[in-house]
Amino acid sequence: MKRFFAFVKKEFLHIFRDRRTLVILFGIPIVQLLLFGYALTNEVRNVKVVVADYARDEKSREIIGRLQASPWFQLVGTADNPNQYESILRSGKAKEIIVIEHGFAQKLVHDRVGKIQLIADASEPNTAQLIINYTTAIINGAPPASMIEVKTRMLYNENMKEAYNFIPGLMAMILMLISAMMTAITITREKEMGTMEILLASPLKPIQIILGKVTPYMILSLVNAIIIVGVGTNLFGVPIKGSLMLLMFEVMLFIFLALSLGILISTVSANQMAAMAISGFGLMLPTILLSGFIFPIKNMPLPLQIISNLMPPRWFIEINRMVMLKGADITLVWKQTLILMVMSAVFIFISMKKFKIRLE
């Protein structure tokens, strides 16, 4: 036992000696929390628009006034010639051109129909759709009152705070990064440096070496997870509706899974570069894009949805969202928890098979 503790102490010393990496390990979640919490949003705001007003009557000016007053739009210029439209959109000077036809107010009165043309830069299709919708809403004004009242209730996120959506995903990503990637790198580094031979020749059993290597990262991951949940709860008001114990249990399970994945990667990587490439490309990018963190899984084509089922973060994010944000208990997440357990068992089994006691 004493040997084991000495070994763990050595690993901790390695980590703390490398101050730069340590700063970044804690910096990444904090910076991401800042970005997602305060800077990034899918909403449309301050969209630059250009108005081509060929009418210049009171009706057109009224509409332009409403557009200017709206926080969604920013009037950056005018156009008086259709030839200008192309270069305005191409250079990105504006994302939308609003064309009010000649004699607009007159036509509204006499013909009962006035035409406005909206030209949107659809190279960003999502934004373009929203821009058209918002512009249409502003031009039309308020809808008549004699209609069905549709009351929409946003469950679990009444105020539509974006923070709710990304905290679970952020946790998955950070835990994967620290537990899987760092574990893989540290074990491979010993192989590459040649110090692994020394470890293997020592009285330490291989299982003790592996456990000793992952323990510091397990603790670091746990600390990071607590920081993320803490900042989320206190700064962004993200609730923990479900049982905190269940949440912590799932977090520990996921950390365990990520660690075993890291060990598995280290057994198949010959050097650090390979370990980093596999965990970087093979883990991080798919984690961000295929796990449901940013892009909803239901929108993806079927083959990708199937692949997504193989990704551990996908299940963890779902569990996290349900327990933290919807207050689900174990009866609702048992299936996903079981999947995570099975995956961990598989990773550990394969790692143990592949771990070589003798060096080739």
């Binding site: 299709p125 809808p143 009444e158 490439a277 919807k326």
Partner: protein
Amino acid sequence: MRILFYILQKEFIQIFRNKGMLPIIFVLPMVQMLVLVFAATFEIKQVDMMIVDLDHSPVSRQLTNQIMGNKLFRMNAFPTSATEAEQMIQASKSDLALVIPRDFDKKITLHQNPDVQILVDAINGNAAQLGSAYLSNIILDFHKSVLMQQKVAGAPEASVIEIESSFWYNPTLNYRHYMAPGILVVLITVIGMFLGSMNLVREKELGTIEQINVTPIQKWQFIAGKLMPFLLIGLFELIFGLTLAKIVFHIPFVGSFPLLFGISAVYLVLVLSAGLYFSTISDTQQQVTFVVYFLMMIFLLMSGLFTPVESMPTWAQNIDRFNPLFYFVRIMRGIVLKGAGISEIFNDFVALLAYAVGMFSLAIWRYRKTS
């Protein structure tokens, strides 16, 4: 000049000797691009919903049928009460529930406003929210058509503003056209920054850098020698990736390819130099990986690839001026999708050029042959 040539030869031999890394350098980015462009979309395919019809009247059934006929919505559960519907949403079994109240038919016939309720799972992404907005519109349209059937008399003909909208450069609002050039940019950046920087730090770690340092090679030659192989690899991947994107996703390539090529070269110099700069201040591969990863992530998230830049607060947009990805994504989309020419992207290009020159000089200046 001859020295540079020999250094390049050495670098290329080393790269291609590393058989394990070759698929990672060449195959992985292409695979990732294909996979990720298919995945990265906010287009909604389907919304799982439930309808709780407490009225069971002909009108409510009419509304239900109309919604069920809409391809966007998929009825996947049939709860009998609002409470049951809420439980299903909590279990993530469905995204949306429409509750039609008991007096729906009565109120419509009496020209009153029935209280229709939509329960939305606001957690599972924006699909439910967009679905609920769409559903509200369907319900309003339904009400309008019912009113017209009842021939509500009296209201004078109001004047109508006819709004005609056109979507330029992407009339079908194809999300893939939007994502593919952007993801390609990301992948090339990753290759550039990671590989370029790791290469140099690896030499430091293994100690072979000392042998280079004792030669009379000049600093700029060494840095250029580390940079150029990955510049060439990056450009090659750009061509390959764009061709692949054109074939698989049918991305229309409207602008001038030589222009894009030239600007990409400038961009790669910028990114590679940045990576090399970080290698000169790092001691281990691990450190450099994390620094590069950290920066890449910030650049990526703020680049305008996933979320619009204008929606960010002013302080964030100011920081974004230092983000090379911000400029390059704009340029790439401008040239590929909008057919922009040099005059239209001039400002972005000058910014990139200035940064590239600055970063390259910084890397050379920071590199020390003696420790």
